[in-house]
């Protein structure tokens, strides 16, 4: 049977594993930490702005399970906050076991505390992944979804140092660029000519440490906006943020909190002693990163050049998705690119033709558009998300943005793609071979 190895169990890796399994492969996820979801453990915002469209497209295409799980642990639905509409906030404290149970239930093999450290390559074909304990995991096709955060050397050289984020590099070891180990140079995101990467755009406060009023509002409405006294406003922070959809004046002038189980604080970092001077925050403490007083993780330091099938260029059997596959920001973006990578990896293993998603769908368009933008001048300075900034504008202009699930279902149906990712390709191929053999 086809063996697909997914390296990195973030949202992209989960999406890839799901699609590869549905397409009929044996799937193994290698995850360096003790939990799935990567940055998804500290995120929580889905379905805001154009992400709604993408999620519904994925559902109509037959690979919507991860969105359903996120919806099922939503703390709030249909939340509006500055620049954003109809967001769903999933509970980051509840979602991981649910996803884990679901994927394991599908028969996906998840190896935790298994850090990929190197690759065995022959003739541009990956033979196996070398784990930190020197075990070698062999497979037919590989999908790299190691994200782009850290490791701490990057956070130190290009940021304010390791701030002890959810990636927990000091405990589980650094992220590794598998594509680079296999001989393909990384694309490195930029902030300016000589500064690399971008800083994660939000941090989390422990909700129980906030004033009663704020806590109650968060629980009830999911969002709280508090004005920051002028002397503590740091507008320059906006320019360093990953999440250009939150790079708005409101985010510098206000404390914007969202209830994701923690109080998600839409600022990359904030000195605790300043924060505690603001009413309602007198006893505040950070939950992620633990050192959010000084900084946040640096990301987009190792993207792989790829085609629109999600294959890494220059290698015969490596796919990629999520932040590894370009300056994508977001869970939705990670899941959607992961689904295509997972599906195509099985096609490749079965010698079937690979597929692109049509550009009349937001998912198909963003995959192709980001690739075009990366090749254009200043491409490495940009980030892309369905949720805001330039790509959301584009969605609106092209008429791709849509908030009615029915209309989206219809679009997918017209393309003949309803349930596309549900098809078990391995069985289909056996049938085809069987038919062929029966003729003789």
């Amino acid at each position: 049977m086809t063996e697909i190895i997914v390296i990195g169990g973030g949202w992209a890796g989960c999406g890839a594993a799901l699609a590869a399994r549905k397409a009929g492969a044996n799937v193994t996820i290698l995850e360096k930490t003790d939990m799935l979801l990567g940055c998804g453990l500290v995120g929580g915002i889905i379905r805001n702005n154009g992400r709604f469209t993408a999620a519904e497209e994925a559902i109509a295409l037959g690979a919507g399970e991860l969105f359903h799980i996120a919806d099922s642990v939503a703390r709030h639905k249909n939340v509006d906050f500055p620049g954003h509409k109809h967001a769903t906030l999933y509970d980051v404290t509840k979602i991981e076991p649910k996803v884990r149970e679901f994927l394991e239930g599908m028969g996906i093999n998840i190896k935790f505390k298994s850090r990929a450290m190197d690759v065995k390559v022959r003739d541009n074909t990956i033979q196996g992944i070398v784990l930190a304990n020197e075990e070698i995991i062999e497979g037919d096709e590989f999908i790299e979804t190691t994200g782009s955060s850290g490791p701490m050397g990057n956070c130190l050289k290009h940021g304010n140092g390791c701030s002890m984020c959810i990636q927990r590099c000091p405990a589980y070891g650094p992220r590794v660029s598998i594509s680079k180990k296999a001989g393909v140079e990384d694309l490195v995101g930029k902030r300016s000519v000589d500064t690399y990467g971008a800083m994660s755009g939000s941090c989390k406060l422990n909700k129980d440490t906030l004033g009663e009023n704020i806590k109650r509002q968060l629980d009830e409405k999911g969002v709280v906006v508090v004005k920051i006294p002028e002397e503590y406003i740091k507008r320059e922070k906006i320019s360093m943020k990953v999440c250009q959809q939150y790079a708005l004046e409101e985010y510098a002038a206000n404390i914007i909190l969202l209830d994701t189980g923690y109080a998600k604080f839409m600022t990359p970092f904030f000195p605790l002693e300043d924060l505690r001077k603001i009413k309602g925050f007198e006893s505040a403490r950070f939950e992620d990163p633990y050192a959010a007083s000084k900084g946040n993780s640096i990301r987009y330091m190792s993207m792989a050049p790829r085609d629109d099938y999600m294959q890494v260029l220059g290698l015969n059997n490596l796919f990629c998705a999520g932040e590894k596959s370009g300056p994508f920001v977001g869970h939705t973006e990670a899941i959607c690119t992961g689904i295509l990578a997972g599906h195509n990896s099985v096609r490749k293993a079965l010698n079937m033709e690979l597929v692109k998603l049509p550009r009349t769908l937001a998912i198909g368009d963003i995959i192709a558009y980001v690739n075009e933008q990366l090749k254009a001048e200043h491409g490495l300075y940009k980030r892309f998300t369905f949720a805001g900034s330039t790509y959301f504008e584009r969605m609106k202009q092209l008429g791709l943005y849509e908030t009615s699930p029915e209309v989206i279902k219809e679009r997918v149906a017209k393309l003949g793609l309803t349930g596309f990712f549900n098809e078990n390709l391995a069985i289909k191929q056996e049938k085809v071979v069987g038919m062929y053999n029966n003729r003789f």
Binding site: D118, V130, G150, P151, M152, G153, N154, G161, C162, P174
Partner: protein
């Protein structure tokens, strides 16, 4: 796949070192002058340590220390006991594979002889070395009377340290030959703490005496006589390994001896890790001078700093 190894000093008080300062760190890509982070992770971030220390590094100090006792065992073999004034420094010498550079007082750096620590008495702060008198450096140190200069501690005196440190209730076969016997006492002491069963074979080799015998007996181990040059003993070696359920083998001696044992082990139907003493020409011990450099799988390896598996060191 790149060669997998680790740096003996990474994470110690002597890390970051001169190599970090000169963009030659063996572990960290940032400290090799690159823009992105891609290290041989050893549980710590060397770059972070370097930045936090403000680019300062801690040097191993050169100490002038008294010689407490000097004993010519034969005309070619002398043991030298020295006194180290600092308890913590003595402790740092008390581990398998530890060595130091010794030279006579009032002599220049190139008289430095790398000597493995034969034994440490922590309570008396005494370290015992054995010197095989072969050339100008060993002759000079053998002639030293009251004081010597010592630079250390260094730790890469054997390959396979992690096996020794993590071994509990295992059976170890230890083979010491010639001056290579000097390295086995710290290994044995460490293994005894892990409640390991220990069988020791001693071959006096060209030093003509079994240097480690008395100390081993004090530790309750009766070493067996052995002669690598006879076919009878070669067979016995195989017999011991196969019949007595040996889990690990430590070879303290020449590369010829290591290779001989490696061959015996390779013929077995199961695999047993071989731990070997480091016999490379060491001069600075810091990865700077290059005297220990060897090309392995296309990578330049500094044997004074790098821990490899014995098969990587010996080839095959």
């Amino acid at each position: 796949m790149t060669l997998n190894y680790y740096c003996i000093d990474a994470g110690s008080q002597y890390c970051p070192c001169h190599l970090a300062k000169t963009d030659n760190c063996l572990i960290c890509s940032m400290l090799q002058g690159k823009d992105t982070c891609d290290c041989r992770w050893q549980g710590i971030c060397v770059y972070q340590e370097y930045i936090w220390a403000g680019g300062k590094i801690e040097e191993r100090k050169l100490l002038s220390v008294p010689v407490i006792e000097k004993n010519f065992v034969t005309d070619k073999l002398v043991t030298i006991k020295i006194f180290i004034p600092s308890a913590s420094l003595v402790r740092d010498y008390n581990q398998p594979g530890a060595f130091a550079f010794l030279r006579p007082e009032n002599s220049l750096e190139y008289y430095d002889v790398p000597l493995c620590v034969m034994d440490v008495d922590e309570s008396k702060k005494i370290i015992n070395f054995a010197v095989n008198i072969v050339g100008p450096k060993s002759k000079a140190i053998a002639r030293s009377e009251n004081k010597v200069l010592i630079r250390g501690p260094y730790w890469n005196g054997l390959f396979g340290l992690k096996h020794i440190k993590s071994s509990y209730n295992k059976h170890w076969l230890i083979i010491g030959r010639g001056i290579g016997q000097a390295s086995i006492i710290p290994v044995v002491k460490n293994l005894l703490r892990g409640n390991n069963k220990i069988t020791v074979l001693l071959d006096c080799g060209n030093i003509k005496v079994n240097l480690a015998e008395d100390e081993l007996k004090k530790l309750g181990i009766t070493p067996q006589e052995f002669d690598l040059n006879t076919t009878f003993h070669k067979m016995r070696l195989r017999e011991i390994i196969e019949k007595d359920g040996v889990d690990f083998v430590y070879s303290g001696g020449s590369d010829v001896q290591h290779k001989f044992i490696q061959n015996v082990l390779n013929k077995l139907s199961f695999s047993i890790p071989l731990i070997i003493s480091n016999n490379h020409q060491l001069c600075c011990g810091e990865g700077v001078c290059g005297s220990c450099e060897t090309l392995i799988d296309g990578e330049l390896i500094h044997f004074c700093k790098i821990q490899l598996r014995s098969e990587q060191v010996l080839g095959g």
